[in-house]
Symmetry: C2
Subunit: 617 residues, 2 copies
């Protein structure tokens, strides 16, 4: 009556898994095809491709500009785009994504760069738009595989990248070139100019890329903020100038494309933070992203105003504040930061704890504080915990659990549902429209978001007068090709893989689809190993079969079931095991797997992974 | 450098797991203690309890009223409360909850009712407040274990319960008594009166329970809606009258206690639905909860107005519409419902598909349509899919994946972020305050929600003038005891277990903490079985050790690692396996588990479940 996966089970394959494999075009196939089906489809697809290549007025040529999204247009994260013209390649951003619940045990996801590795001698440079992990996180994994090409970026971003390379022992291999937003960069056939954008981290830049076929405007993560925390608004003048020069293609951030209106300003948020600080009597525990330098600045401002000292906790928070301070991106009052040991000297209403963990991450500061196992910070009644972030989709329950634990310890909690204590770094619909109005692009390609966000952004483009056939809502690995006659077309190139590479522990890419699928199965219903010890010559059972099972059923309470299974196995071996029909007893193993699997399902409606092992003695 | 669980891994223990085990009071202990640690704490706690029992002016007695929450105050779902006075017990609601991502493979969670089973002869009746699964879902699991006590509820709820019992082959065992909201029910020492509340399902009632120590008002899931879809608003007059009589204790819904202001009316939402229908040119695919009869009514109204026929799909949607229709809770136009085969006869702008799956559930209508494997409904360009629900926390990514798949097939999508196409059934802060103002309770106990929601609701109570010591933010299994002098105290009773019972396939309660933990470990890093075949007498290896591993690493690409492990195992057996020190080779098995586990961690930074098996021949 009750079937698996029917009611909100977390292991449903609701995201097409695709490590190392290019995408099928139909969701139906994506989600349901078994490994071998998919392989077949791929072969078919590869075969079809040749015949479906552009035939009419469109001619594929080295004189075409190719926009190759390696990641970030089917998900929020792992942003990476390659531009190709003639022999030249440039790479924009190298981000990571966090796994979803269909990828158990995976730490991060990065784009599959096999094709790029094969073409590394053609890479003229890597441009990084800003210092968030979904734009720089994969740098230490990918850069060495590409032969350590030079990196070009702004000062703060460079600081963050250097720190990350340092953590991986890779400092000094790639040259990290620090530019200013008014520099012009020439990389092969590409001329790159920069313009300042607003985002939750300073030094975010958009790109104007002049190519032989026209100008591409690359608007990475951004919002328009007329009153940003650092007082440095978007360079509208530059964007308007680029627009006047003629924009062939606009690529723009879709993260908030589903949200109407405008994103609230970081300065307005500062007012909320100020008011909140003014009202709180006890200690304040303030959690936000370690990369949100602007938010951190506002916390320092409010703390100084209300005469509070700040304890900084969480490794990345400490690191990033150091980097931002040393480069002048953060202005703080002398002696405002104290060590936690000094906290005793101050009354509670003079303390702010600034911490990581706004996403509910287990190992981060806030979760440790909430569990009561932070080394120095113990929650007590009268404390107020402020979570100044929205949960990234998938983190909602983890955040709620942290909030519950905090309240259980006596803290009052403030978060985005109770108060507007967070503003997004991504443009809402009216801002997105303004970007289109300023750049007036011929072609439009929404980037950075899940497919439904990309499509919603595409619809906004249509309402702004861009013809539907000039808008490209692509998938990772699909290529936008524009020829010298300024005609654009989406094409696929079987040589370019667009899969995910999973990072798990020390392994990069050694956890693939098969391993993940096995983890899913075992998480769902556990596993059931059946060990059959056979006399090599007689093919007869020597011992009673052994059963090792975990995650399936509580073994001690189910002696009968186990006894019955052993009996069934014995019967199977006696009737089918007489002759070793195939090497390694494949036939007998298959029979045991199928029959016992079915037997267990009949008894329990569960399908553990059944693993028969035949030991020959 | 990269550690497990550090960055948003889904298997973090962010919810205390507690099947079958009562709760510790500190989150720190809850989350970190290993099985044996927890057992120790429990023993300690049981010992402490006797000494910490009320000593001063408070006397435990059978003449006390005891409020025993079995579920629903540490989570959204599995709502169930028991009231005890003298020899009498009454039960309110029997709900289920959906598992979170720390409970892989679990279908549902229901409250642990062991204590109630032992006291079943004292149960005077079961009262069900409304027909949602988090209030009736556990009925077929629990009712038979309690000796099929009589159930009392309103007509629509009774219809839903009967259907559910029918699905489990349990019809006719418990008597399902249909009452009206103006009936008075006497069950032992309790007199129960009802008052109509608004919620997203008709026939939702609150309870006034007169007990020998005073009146308890039980406000289950509710909102105040002055213009509900069925035109039947909350009975404010009754609530005010109960308030005037004197309310000893108010128990009230905390689901939206973090949300400021008022919840928008179902009628206002109807206007949005109407406008949306008026604007859409193609087919409409409308997904919502199958139990949201009011929302379904509004869809029928809008469809009729704009001359559209309705195709109903999804088993529970079909069932519930049938029940609501037969009982007169849904008024629909003749011939408006058509079979999907008839759809061809109508142009697209005359079709609405009403479907389940608004939570992104894999097996429900909308996900099947979005994957392209629904039997009769195929998405085409021009279709508009409307998801009229908020994702239950934890379902966000599943919903987003369904939206992306729909857009991939060419549909336009409308959901709660793009338009206010959903309103909650739960009161916001201003409504919650009004309930307190109307009932003026002496004691207040927030129910239905995660702990931080409960606490936020408690804080609202304080702002309304209820003294802090009269407000009880409890955990499941903690008991609120009120004596005849109208003094209240939270107590614990070691006899009353408050754990979760997991339902997985056919099994109820046979998946416990150990099984779940094993699933988590295997999901995280897989498993690694080492089979050592020993000569019984000589204690020597007969074969090369066998390795069976799944979910750990791609075996084919890692021959070297496997070879090295076999070598290590051989060394261990040769040095430690000489004598069979303990039965079943426990010593040797432990050594292999620890050493090889560590070896694998050094090589991979993963910790698969290592399972050594010794086969004696």
């Amino acid at each position: 009556m009750i079937r698996k996966n029917q009611h909100g089970s977390r292991f449903s394959p609701h995201r097409p898994s695709k490590p190392g494999l290019p995408q099928d075009s139909k969701p139906a196939n994506k989600q349901n095809a078994s490994g071998s089906d998919r392989l077949e489809q791929l072969i078919q697809k590869a075969t079809n491709l040749t015949s479906s290549l552009p035939t009419s007025r469109y001619t594929a040529s080295r004189q075409n500009l190719r926009i190759i999204p390696m990641g970030g247009i089917e998900e929020v994260g792992e942003n990476m785009t390659v531009l190709e013209y003639g022999d030249d390649l440039i790479v924009i951003d190298m981000g990571l994504a966090f796994p979803d619940d269909t990828m158990p045990g995976v730490d991060y996801i990065i784009p599959d760069t096999k094709w790029l590795e094969q073409n590394k001698r053609r890479i003229r440079g890597v441009i990084i738009t800003h210092g968030h992990l979904d734009h720089i996180g994969a740098v230490p994994y990918i850069l060495p595989k590409l032969g350590d090409p030079p990196v070009y970026t702004m000062a703060l971003t460079a600081g963050f990248i250097k720190k990350r390379l340092e953590e991986f022992g890779l400092v000094g291999r790639s040259r990290i070139n620090v530019l200013t937003k008014d520099d012009t960069l020439a990389l092969g056939s590409f001329k790159i100019r920069f313009f300042r954008l607003n985002h939750s981290i300073p030094d975010s830049v958009g790109l104007s890329i002049t190519t032989p076929v026209g100008q591409v405007v690359y608007a990475t993560d951004w919002k328009f903020d007329h009153t940003p925390a650092d007082g440095k608004p978007t360079e509208f003048d530059k964007i308007a100038k680029f627009g006047a020069e003629g924009v062939l293609l606009l690529m723009s951030d879709s993260t908030n494309s589903v949200k109407p209106g405008y994103c609230i300003s970081e300065r307005e948020l500062g007012i909320t933070i100020d008011r909140t600080f003014s009202e709180i009597k006890g200690r304040i525990i303030f959690a936000n992203f370690a990369t949100s330098i602007s938010r951190i600045q506002q916390v320092f401002n409010a703390a100084a105003k209300y005469n509070r000292k700040i304890i900084v906790t969480g490794r990345s928070m400490v690191n990033n504040i150091e980097i931002a301070l040393s480069l002048g991106y953060l202005k703080i009052q002398p002696k405002i930061v104290i060590k936690s040991e000094q906290a005793k000297k101050y009354p509670d209403n003079q303390i702010v704890v600034l911490t990581t963990g706004s996403q509910g991450e287990d190992a981060a500061g806030l979760a440790r504080i909430a569990r009561g196992d932070h080394k120095t910070i113990k929650i007590k009644k009268g404390d107020t915990a402020i979570v100044s972030a929205s949960p990234i989709p998938g983190n909602e329950r983890a955040v709620a659990a942290v909030l519950s634990n905090l309240t259980r310890l006596g803290a009052h909690v403030i978060y985005n549902k109770t108060l507007d204590i967070h503003t997004s770094g991504h443009a809402h619909q009216e801002e997105l429209k303004l970007m289109i109005a300023l750049t007036k692009p011929k072609f439009f390609m929404p980037i950075h978001g899940e497919h439904h966000m990309i499509v919603t952004h595409a619809e906004l483009g249509k309402t702004m007068g861009i013809p539907e056939q000039n808008i490209f809502s692509l998938d990772n690995g699909q290529i936008l090709e524009i020829n010298s006659a300024r005609e654009a077309k989406s094409v696929e190139d079987p040589k370019i893989s667009s899969g995910y590479v999973f990072i798990d522990g020390l392994g990069v890419g050694d956890v693939g689809e098969v391993v993940i699928r096995d983890r899913q199965v075992m998480a769902q219903d556990g596993m059931f190993v059946i060990i059959v010890t056979l006399d090599r010559r007689a093919g007869k059972l020597i011992n009673q079969p052994d059963i090792i099972s975990r995650g399936f059923i509580y073994m001690k309470g189910n002696d009968d079931l186990i006894r019955e299974v052993k009996h069934e196995v014995r019967k199977l071996v006696e009737s089918k095991g007489k002759e070793k029909l195939e090497p390694n007893w494949a036939f007998l193993r298959n029979i045991i797997r199928d029959e016992i699997g079915e037997y267990l399902y009949q008894k329990t409606e569960r399908r553990p992974m059944v693993l028969p092992v035949i030991i020959e003695v």
